[in-house]
């Protein structure tokens, strides 16, 4: 059955904030929306997650900053950006003017940095949500990445939550490069995170076999793209299983509407499209369209009905070819 795409309610709610649909951009893969506006209206997306912004202007790392890898890429941009003040004045204001829902991603080198950034956001219109990029080296702790240590992660999240206006959800963005991601997730939630963004890039490296040296000037870089999707699905699954009531913004290698559906089924309430934008600048709207069609084909009436659906227990037997609305198959305990 190929249902008409108008039947599914695509809206999603993240920690009390309603978004018209679940397809967002990913931080660092859409700048602050202006460039993508040339290809489609960014206000038509669920939200625009902006490039992680720091307190001061930042030049980023030396080039080469990227390497293509099988079904993926490495990047080591080093958080180049204009600093929070210029961002709020120019980029956020632009997004707000266009009617887009901005998810502001912030990054810092110390708990203090994050706290200051969070407080600077106060009083600015157009912020739908705050994403805390904790995959940054902690300058006060021998450069250990916040996201790799439950205590450091928790300190950052709690500082941000205290300073961000109540009512604006704070999502902590986790790194997959940890032994136990559910542990980090739990400590972020305990520290006040309203939700979790999963996953940031995996640490990777490419060596140039001509120069026989690392290809990236920064030696290591972040691996993204379809190559990492199975890791993203697994992390989303594990965290949703451990914390079924915590909303997740899922990402990692989403290229099609069915990839987005996979993340939703694993437990994400919305998804971010990152690297795929480089391959296909109109991908976010295409993915939204494909997802909508996929849900209609499956007789799903509300997007929220598929969130975490892959966790449902095996009995009663599932329909292999679903023929009607799946809503009533939902077991009680699945978050909807």
């Amino acid at each position: 059955m190929t249902g008409t795409s108008t039947t599914t309610d695509m809206s999603t709610t993240l920690a009390g904030v309603r978004f018209p649909n679940p397809v967002f951009t990913a931080s660092g893969c859409a700048a602050a929306g202006q460039e993508l506006q040339q290809f489609f209206d960014v206000a038509s997306l669920g939200g625009v997650v902006t490039k992680s912004i720091m307190l001061a202007a930042r030049s980023g790392r030396a080039t080469p900053r990227m390497a293509e890898t099988p079904s993926g890429m490495l990047n080591s941009i080093g958080l180049q950006g204009p600093g929070i003040d210029a961002f709020l004045e120019k980029d956020l204001a632009w997004l707000h003017g266009k009617g887009a829902r901005a998810v502001v991603s912030i990054a810092g080198g110390s708990v203090e940095d994050y706290a200051t950034l969070a407080s600077r956001l106060r009083g600015h219109d157009g912020i739908a949500m705050v994403e805390v990029n904790i995959s940054c080296p902690n300058v006060e702790s021998r450069g250990e990445v916040f996201a790799c240590d439950p205590r450091a992660a928790s300190a950052v999240v709690s500082a941000v939550r205290k300073n961000v206006a109540p009512g604006i959800p704070v999502f902590a963005k986790l790194s997959p490069d940890v032994t136990d991601i559910a542990l980090i997730a739990r400590s972020c939630v305990d520290a006040g995170a309203d939700g979790l963004s999963l996953i940031n890039t995996l640490l990777g490296m490419v060596i140039d076999t001509d120069t026989m040296r690392p290809k990236l000037a920064g030696v290591t870089g972040g691996l993204s793209g379809p190559a990492i999707r199975p890791v993203a699905v697994r992390c989303t699954w594990q965290v949703h299983q451990a914390l079924p009531d915590v909303p997740i913004l899922g990402m990692g290698g989403i290229r099609t509407g069915l990839d987005a559906l996979e993340l939703l089924l694993a437990g994400a309430s919305a998804v971010s499209v990152g690297t795929t934008v480089f391959n296909d600048p109109t991908a976010p709207v295409r993915i939204l369209r494909e997802l909508q069609q996929a849900l209609a084909d499956r007789g799903i009436e509300r997007l929220s009905d598929v969130v975490g659906l892959a966790h449902r227990p095996l009995d009663p037997p599932q329909p292999t070819v679903p023929t009607g609305p799946i809503g009533d198959l939902l077991p009680e305990e699945v978050e909807a």
Binding site: G28, C29, N75
Partner: protein, 281 residues
């Protein structure tokens, strides 16, 4: 305002060591100016290659029998260009363009010298046409490793007031680099402005020669690009702004054409300590 078009290969032909590919891409020709580039998805729907490949536009036709077309010239370098070289007429191809900032044109009829290295001559040929239309004197210097790596020699000859050729191995023209013959051309042609496209070391040499002589020069650079549309920040190089400050600027949207004397050639591949936002240490 770039477009993303599901285009189709119209033709592909060998030109010396290069391939010239023409793609039916309605809408793109009308917007394209000399110096613009296009970015192509490579490898088909199940490709393991995610990133687009960028090529300077050589020629556009607003409307052919098949709709507007875009032509570019490329060298087989790695896996993506190897795949491109195996395309056949009618194969589908996803193309985004025009991208970047094109060459800025002089308002008056000046003496322009165009310097191309290898396939770098491709965007200079349509530029020559436009300059001639504006009454400019056009002198051309083309250089390459060897004769088969020169592109557009005959065409350049036809549309220029003079042409000089160099090859590293002497298989065509003067043995040597474009920078060996450029000073003579600049003097003889009374050059007011220089346009250059080619490998980074060549652009640097051209910029240096122009700087010595106080001749304004525009160069089209080639930095590895992940997105080509300004969202990823991979393609940066240190460029001095109007305010005298050095910033790491995106060559895909603020370039690929830069003023030669604004590029910090010594510091390409690094973040100069005095760049805006550079790490304090």
């Amino acid at each position: 305002m770039p477009l993303q078009v599901q285009g189709e290969v119209l033709s592909i032909r060998r030109v010396g060591a290069y391939q010239a590919m023409t793609v039916v891409a309605p809408g793109i020709p009308e917007l394209t100016r000399p110096g613009h580039f296009v970015a192509l998805a490579v490898g088909g729907p199940e490709s393991s290659m995610l990133l687009r490949r960028s090529f300077a536009v050589y020629d556009v036709k607003d409307r052919g029998v098949y709709g507007g077309t875009v032509e570019f010239v490329f060298a087989v370098h790695g896996k993506g260009t190897e795949w491109l070289s195996r395309r056949q007429p009618r194969d589908p191809i996803d193309i985004v363009g025009p991208l970047g900032k094109p060459f800025r044109l002089p308002k008056t009829a000046v003496n322009a010298t165009l310097v191309g290295g290898g396939y770098g001559s491709a965007p200079l040929l349509p530029l020559a046409t436009v300059l001639r239309e504006r009454g400019c004197r056009v002198d051309v210097v083309l250089g390459a490793g060897s004769a088969d790596r020169l592109f557009g020699q005959l065409e350049a000859k036809r549309m220029s007031d003079s042409i000089a050729i160099t090859t590293d191995d002497g298989t065509a023209g003067t043995r040597g680099r474009v920078s060996d013959v450029l000073p003579g051309v600049l003097d003889k042609a009374k050059t007011d402005v220089v346009y250059a496209c080619g490998p980074m070391p060549m652009l640097r040499a051209v910029s240096d020669l122009c700087a010595e002589r106080g001749i304004p020069c525009q160069v089209a650079v080639e930095e590895a690009m992940a997105c080509g549309i300004g969202v990823c920040m991979t393609c940066v190089l240190p460029v001095i702004g109007e305010d005298g400050l050095t910033r790491m600027v995106r060559s895909c949207v603020e370039g690929p054409v830069f003023l030669g004397d604004r590029v910090r050639w010594d510091d390409v591949g690094t973040v100069p300590a005095d760049a805006v936002g550079a790490p304090r240490s």
